[in-house]
Symmetry: C2
Subunit: 151 residues, 2 copies
C-alpha cells in the first residue's frame, strides 16, 4: 500500500474536507499535516478554530491514518523521509510549486473540486448579501472574537 | 460489546461533538441518529449545514459504527429493536424525558461538558460583542443565506 501525505488548514471542518480525505485515503495510507496557528500567523492567515481542535478533528476522521503538525515550509522533505511517503498530494492551485519534492517522492496536484471551501464559506458571510465593507469588517471582527472565545 | 445509541443534530461539526462521540464509543459500538432538516423544521430549528452533509461528517468519524437519520420523535423504540441497542444516551438537559425507553434498554443522561456547543458558537456570533438586536437579526439572516448556498 502506498503512503500518501497532504498538507492543509482544515478550519471549520466541512464536507469538502471530508471528501478530500476520503479520496486521498483511497490512494493509500494517509498522513495529514495540519498547519499550526503560529505557522498560519507567519502567512498572515487566521483560523476560526484553534490548531489543537483542527488537529483532533482531522485525527478523528476514519480516513486518516496519522495527523501531524505543519510548523514550517521546510519540513516537507523531513516528513517524506520520516514517514516513508510515496506520494505528496496538494491542490492544483499550488501547481508546480512543489516540483522540488520529486527528488523524494511522487508529486500530484489534485484538481480542486467544485463547491464549498472554508474560504468560500467565510467570504460568503460577507459577499453573498452584498454587505458593504464596514459590515464585512464587523463580521470579521465578530469571527475574530469568536475564535478567541474558542481558544 | 454493548450497543449504544444517541441522537443529535451535529451542526458545524466541532470538538465538542468529537469528544462526545469518542466518549460514547468507549462505552460500546456506537449508532448515531442525525436529525433530518424536515424533522428540525418541525421543531422550529434551522441548521447551517444541510442534513446530508451533517450525516456524512458523523459517518466519517472513526468513533461511529453507524449513522442513521432521525426523522421523528417516535422512531426511538423501533431503532432500539432494529439495532439491538443496549444503552440509549442523551444529554442531561433531557433528564427524565426518555424514561419510557427503560422498558426497552438502559437509559443514560450524560452530564453536558463545559465549553463549546453549536448553540454557543452561533449565539456567540451575536452576543459576544454585545451587538444589538438588529445586528443579531442581520447575522442570522446572513447565516440563513449561507445555509441555502450550501444546500
Amino acid at each position: 500500500m502506498k503512503r500518501i501525505i497532504t498538507y492543509g488548514t482544515f478550519d471549520l471542518f466541512h464536507i469538502g474536507h471530508l471528501n478530500l480525505l476520503k479520496r486521498l485515503a483511497a490512494m493509500g495510507e494517509l498522513t495529514v499535516a495540519v498547519s499550526t496557528d503560529t505557522f498560519n500567523e507567519g502567512k498572515g492567515k487566521k483560523t476560526i478554530i484553534p490548531f489543537e481542535q483542527r488537529l483532533a478533528i482531522v485525527e478523528g476522521c476514519r480516513y486518516v491514518h496519522r495527523a501531524i503538525a505543519e510548523e514550517s515550509w521546510e519540513q516537507k522533505v523531513e516528513d517524506i523521509k520520516k514517514y516513508q511517503i510515496d506520494t505528496f498530494v496538494i491542490g492544483d492551485d499550488w501547481q508546480g510549486k512543489f516540483d522540488f519534492l520529486k527528488d523524494h517522492c511522487e508529486v500530484i496536484y489534485l484538481p480542486r473540486t467544485e463547491g464549498i471551501s472554508t474560504t468560500s464559506l467565510k467570504t460568503s458571510l460577507g459577499f453573498l448579501k452584498n454587505i458593504n465593507k464596514d459590515e464585512l469588517f464587523k463580521a470579521l471582527d465578530i469571527l475574530e472574537t469568536l475564535r478567541n472565545d474558542l481558544a
